[in-house]
Symmetry: C2
Subunit: 349 residues, 2 copies
């Protein structure tokens, strides 16, 4: 079997620290398996701005296109706040250039960590939903976009085809879950949302087993906190998904542990932690590596069909959390290194 190529974008501030941890776990977990891989580093984000004046240099996008999967760590930070092309620009571009039109964010509350959630235990119990966010259209990419001295303008667009392909991701996912799709929109105001509803009404015919409902984005922002168990799969436009998936992430009480996946139809998927580059704790060796380790777990499952190795990692992470060997963000006193070493140890038993 040929080696899988993983493009590595190490990121900024705590980015490289947790990437290192993740790759250590990947190496250990796949050591005795048939899974063969090779990693190639590419400059991206702040690091790439420093070296090449561009958050997404040509070599990076070319390398990623050739890869079987892309692993990205958190990027950006105050250092590049005034750069002419900021790190986040690279993020938008890589999504666009790799055709990563879907972003998948699981929200599952781990009973071992829910004490860190701002939300009450009884509300959280059994929360387990996924937000499927459209990632390469809507107001993020629509044109015209203009800013003059007197006014500014942004445009949100969606085509039927763009809506259908993201619906397909979400509906397929719901078939492997509880067969319940909620389309989140603002159809009482937006034309794009009304098109989403129209397309959904047709599209759902192909999935007679799936229960479909609609929820306005303002109501969804409430319901995610008050009734998180009422959701299974939420499908939504780029901007709404940005807001709601960040909101949803706080339910878990453990931002530092949550992975995400961005996927297209062809080409590599991209896996990354959902949190930022945390400049305040960079270099202290206390960044939580679990988000990156679980991003790698997700990659093994979704891109490489290696659920055996992924399960092993998942169990080792779980055991380490149960042992209380965690970084300060989830109540422990361990370092990034100690958590990583312990996860590697737990892989063996």
């Amino acid at each position: 079997m040929s080696k899988k190529v993983i493009a590595i974008l190490r990121g900024d501030y705590i980015g490289p620290e947790i990437m290192e941890a993740g790759l250590t776990v990947l190496k250990a977990a796949s050591a005795d398996s048939n899974f063969q891989y090779q990693t190639i580093d590419y400059p991206f984000g702040g690091e790439a701005i420093d070296k090449y004046g561009d958050p997404l240099p040509q070599q990076t996008i070319e390398g990623c296109k050739q890869a079987d999967a892309v692993l990205l760590s958190a990027i950006g930070g105050p250092k590049w706040d005034n750069a002419s092309k900021r790190p986040e620009k690279g993020l938008l571009e890589i999504r666009n250039r790799l055709g990563l039109f879907s972003n998948i964010r699981p929200t599952k509350v781990d009973p071992n960590l829910s004490r860190f959630s701002p939300v009450k235990q009884e509300v959280l119990d059994n929360t387990d939903f996924v937000i499927v966010r459209e990632l390469t259209s809507g107001i993020y990419f629509g044109t015209p976009r203009k800013q003059n001295s007197q006014d500014a303008l942004d445009t949100s667009t969606y085509t039927v085809q763009e809506i259908k392909r993201i619906l397909k991701i979400g509906f397929d996912m719901s078939m492997r879950r509880r067969k319940h799709v909620t389309v989140v929109d603002k159809a009482n105001v937006l034309a794009t949302s009304r098109l989403w509803r129209k397309v959904t009404e047709e599209f759902k015919q192909e999935y007679p087993e799936v229960t479909v409902d609609y929820c306005y984005v303002d109501a969804a922002a409430m319901k995610i906190i008050t009734h998180p168990t009422s959701f299974d799969v939420l499908i939504t436009a780029n901007l709404f998904g940005d807001i709601l998936s960040d909101e949803a992430s706080v339910l878990t009480g453990s931002l530092g542990t949550i992975p995400s996946m961005s996927a297209g139809t062809t080409g590599p998927n991209l896996y990354e932690p959902i949190h930022g580059s945390a400049p305040d704790i960079a270099g202290k060796g206390i960044a939580d590596p679990i988000s990156m380790i679980q991003s790698i777990e997700m990659m093994l499952r979704e891109s490489f069909d290696e659920s055996y190795i992924a399960d092993k990692i998942a169990e080792a992470v779980q055991k380490t959390i149960e042992e209380g060997i965690t970084t300060p963000d989830i109540g422990g006193t361990a370092t990034t290194q100690e958590v990583t070493t312990n996860i590697v140890k737990n892989l063996k038993g």
Copy 2:
């Protein structure tokens, strides 16, 4: 002193029930005062669709324009889901026609009610912020807006003048509070947000005492739940304000008690509960009247400078909550009528 005219839009489902309660309290509270007023009913929302085929008939907009304040109860409901012009359309139109470019939503957690909040007590303690939402521009009103068989498009626009006037509302409010303004935007993606930041940077020079910071809307959606005490006044665009103010409202645990105000430069302000028309409990006599009563309190304070009467109402409401004479939404077994009667009783001492 001439009589103040209050335009009454009774609303749908539980709308008329809580309006009745509110007007009973207003009458009792102003009985022995110099405050003289007259109410005039106008058809609006679902009721107006049924009677005139239009959620905002001509007579209603004319009447509201002549009034000193507008009191609106919750509108809409499943009955009009397929109406060619839906009740919400009337809401957008009345905002536009009355020039109500600002919407003000206080989020203050009442220690007597926080047990109904999905959020933990220790997170909520001392939460007291206001969301100032721009209400007549942005993607709600931008053109072009189109929907074809193949695609759809919405446009978000802001002019410097529109941004400045909403900033003024928020900054002035912060001067009467903790002098801290947070502008919430998505400046890493949107041109309109970048214009907001530019205008804010200039505008804030006029308020040297105010601390100003910026927060991306996705981060704000997290922080409202994780660190609600970090906010004083949030100022934001129409769509972001829609989402965040609904999200914020759940912190209080008592949706049924929260008022809001929409204001322009000239003409009457509009006061309304933030919740919907609750078709499921309509006619049962158990709708919480406190949101409407507190909307009236806000009207007395802001439109009529009658803070003496407003304070009296506030205290009577507070006392009634402390006595536990509340509707089921906040843990009681009282009816709308009983809560109202008790508040009236408490007005007296």
